[in-house]
Amino acid sequence: MDYPIWDSGLSGGVLMAWVAITHVIVSHFAIGGGLLIVVTETLAIRRADREMRELARRSSLVLILVSTVFGAISGVGIWVVAGLISPGAISALIHAYVWGWAIEWVFFVLEIVAALIYYTTWDRITKQAHVLVGWLYFIGAYLSMVIINGIVTFMLTPGRWLETRAFWDGFFNPTYWPSLVLRTGICVLMAVAFMLWPAFTASPGRRTDLVRYLGWWFLGGALVSYAGYRWWEAVLPDTVTALFLGEAPTLVGLAATRSFALWSLALGLALGVLALLVAPRAARAVTAVALMAAIFAFFGGYERLREGVRKPFLIHSHLFSNGLLVDQIDEINATGLAAHSGWVAAGDPAPEARGRRIFAAQCAACHTLDGYQSITEALPTVADLELVATPSSTGMDRLAYQAECASCHADVAHAEMVEMLPSIEEIRSDPDAIRELNLGMITATVMQLKEMGEEITAFDRSVMFDMRTLERGTMPPFVGSDEEAEALAVYLASLDRTPDAASGDAR
């Protein structure tokens, strides 16, 4: 939180999601594709089967064009974007796991060199040598996943690492093995979806055969993925699964994501069995597209779920995604954020300007002003208050209350609220008072966020926190002095663009 802020004009989270989704799709395809292609080539040699060889050869072009460059660049892209939007957080992760990444790099080098050789030596070296290169490619690619899986799963379930801070405790964490199984299955599914295209262009006599061959892979991949997924769910701590499972999941959106992912897999499985195994003759381009869509949906759903339940942490119970360490909360509250960050301290000392810098440092990692997770949407405005206070025969006042206020005032009914609010005539005659009320409310919200920090530091730091016990468990606490909290509130209130009812001009 002491880094300069990248004012990109769009949500860092959305940008990251795009880069990360591209990367996981391409990289899983690169691994699964490696396996399928080299097994296919091995079988082709054993059976002296030209068509199978052609299938392997044609698939390898896509593999190289896509994986060696798109996969690599998007992988670098994750670091680039993370460094731009949450440098403190990515730095902490890299400092804990440099050697993991360094090892992954070794496998990555093997993978890329083998991929380049594999593709360019068709028709030029002996079959045995070529297959060997193919296997080395797959081994390099798979081992890099074996490593990266340790780091990715660590972020959600750091396990004993929270207590010991030992590399391997974090690496072989509770979700390591299930996740590896799941990802292995997904790699195969991805590869089948892509390899169907070259299979369709095989000679008419063999097309059915090859499609069915891929169908068996698909069936295997789907079953392994499903097993991996259920196992993953089973080893997650109850405090995490309760967010999206059970009668009343805490995060309804994530529960929906889970059903979506599992239904997509089920649908993909059914379609795959029907179109690839039972009636391979009927398989068409549209089948491949549908299978691809189902797999992307399953995989994307799972990734979203995994990221969603980790919120608001980058490393669960240790590091928030805006770069705030749990261990820093007390210290920053005591000294103030400005003492901690020169970028917050420098510049115009007026509260509104300071508030803007505090927002940039602490909140902008997740909230945009008007776009994704817009902060102005989340905050009450004078216009909202006026709407709620204006009696309406069509029920606008109650609707406005539900939409704009209930998220923070769940225990207060509309009628009660109207009692507490000044009447619309009073609001019109004294616009400053209502602005004061709004500012007070925003200040109180920020103070609540600050108090949340105290609740969090009271947690047992050696186990994963139960974020459900917090009122706003999907957010990090506010940290800083009370004065800074007020400056932030002044800035947030200044975002309210409601024109003054009395004078009619925009503030």
Binding site: I5, V69, I94, W99, G342
Partner: protein, 364 residues
């Protein structure tokens, strides 16, 4: 100097002693430079050669352009692959400065990803369709070089961050910007030109289209010569425009800093002498290999000097921080063993491939 803008050191500490990361950073950066040189220098040179060849397939310049781009099929991927490691280690050692520098450049730094993709796929498109793609590829790589030089100069000058925050493009006005960029571009051209010459000499001596290869070797050799002439001039210019304290730091550093610098200057002059000695490299195969080896050594030594200059730039800032070291020796050892095994596997694989040529039904 306003040191308040510098973020705190990462609280987790360094998972190994600093010297280890310095070595790894410089070593992997050197590997990256080799392939980066082929990519950047090769594409720029291929563009010029392609234009001069005028689309005649048998023209030596067209053949040269074709060869350079054929090498680039590998070189670009390997430049990216080898670039990942220094990108990792720089984040470990210099996170406070590196992230700040990239953030101050923002979209410009992000654009590197887009340009990489463009440069790579344009190179493929050139092979398939010709047209303007080679120029697109060359300009993309040149732009990437410009971005890297910009990030470097912003990250090493925290005292100027407030100005860069107001105007990131101000970095183009840094007195060292253009000489520094030119230094990398010229090195890249020299390297690619020498590799092309070396290969052509080998082909010619093997009796393969002797006149064609002789002509290509000469072209490469001439490019290398003139690029090196400019490089020596630019190198001294760059040294001259370095901030005073940095230059003084190099001078006062004794053997550790003056050694590599002197060595690389001597190597550069040696290169000039070697390049000027022959006009027909095919007649001097030993000289050609020796020159390429000397150039590679120069790149290695210059990587050290470059790193020392960075450390000197940052000295006033880094001296304010005292990193804690929480070594993970076991994990480092595992990395070192796997690196050795991995490289051995790569060499074994390449050997196996080179020694297993086959044709027709025997081939894969």
């Amino acid at each position: 100097m306003n040191t308040d803008l510098i973020p705190a050191l990462d609280a987790a500490g360094l998972p190994g002693p600093p010297w280890l990361f310095h070595i790894l950073l410089v070593f992997t950066f050197f590997l990256h430079l080799l392939f980066m040189n082929l990519t950047l220098g090769g594409t720029l040179m291929a563009l010029v050669a392609h234009l001069r060849g005028g689309g005649r397939a048998d023209h030596p310049d067209s053949v040269l352009a074709g060869r350079l781009m054929a090498v680039n099929t590998y070189a670009i991927s390997l430049a990216i692959t080898t670039g990942v490691a220094p990108l990792l280690f720089v984040q470990v050692l210099f996170q406070q400065f590196f992230y700040s520098g990239t953030i101050l450049l923002g979209w410009i730094w992000f654009a590197m990803l887009v340009l990489l993709m463009l440069g790579y796929y344009a190179a493929y498109l050139h092979k398939a369709y010709r047209g303007p793609w080679l120029a697109v590829s060359a300009l993309s790589f040149l732009a990437i070089a410009m971005i890297h030089v910009a990030v470097h100069l912003v990250h090493v000058q925290p005292e100027r961050w407030a100005t860069f925050d107001a105007n990131a493009l101000g970095v183009l006005g840094d007195p060292t910007y253009w000489p520094r960029l030119l230094h990398f571009v010229l090195a890249a051209i020299t390297f690619a030109a020498l590799v092309a010459a070396w290969w052509a000499v080998r082909r010619a001596r093997a009796g393969d289209r002797v006149e064609l290869n002789r002509s290509i070797a000469r072209t490469g050799w001439r490019w290398a010569l003139w690029a090196t002439v400019l490089q020596v001039a630019d190198g001294f210019l760059l040294l001259g425009v370095l901030p005073r304290e940095v230059l003084l730091g190099v001078m006062r550093g004794g053997l550790p800093t003056l050694g590599p610098l002197t060595l690389s200057i001597l190597l550069a002059i040696g290169l000039l002498v070697m390049l000027a000695r022959a006009t027909d490299p095919v007649e001097h195969p030993g000289l050609v290999s020796g020159t390429l080896a000397a150039l590679t050594l120069t790149v290695a030594v210059m990587s050290v000097t470059r790193h020392q200059v960075r450390v000197l730039y940052l000295e006033p800032a880094t001296s304010l921080f005292d990193p804690t070291v929480v070594p993970q020796w076991g994990n480092f050892a595992l990395f070192a063993v796997l690196l050795a095994l991995g490289l051995a596997t790569v060499f074994w694989m390449v050997r196996r491939v080179v020694t297993s040529p086959a044709e027709g039904d025997e081939a894969a």
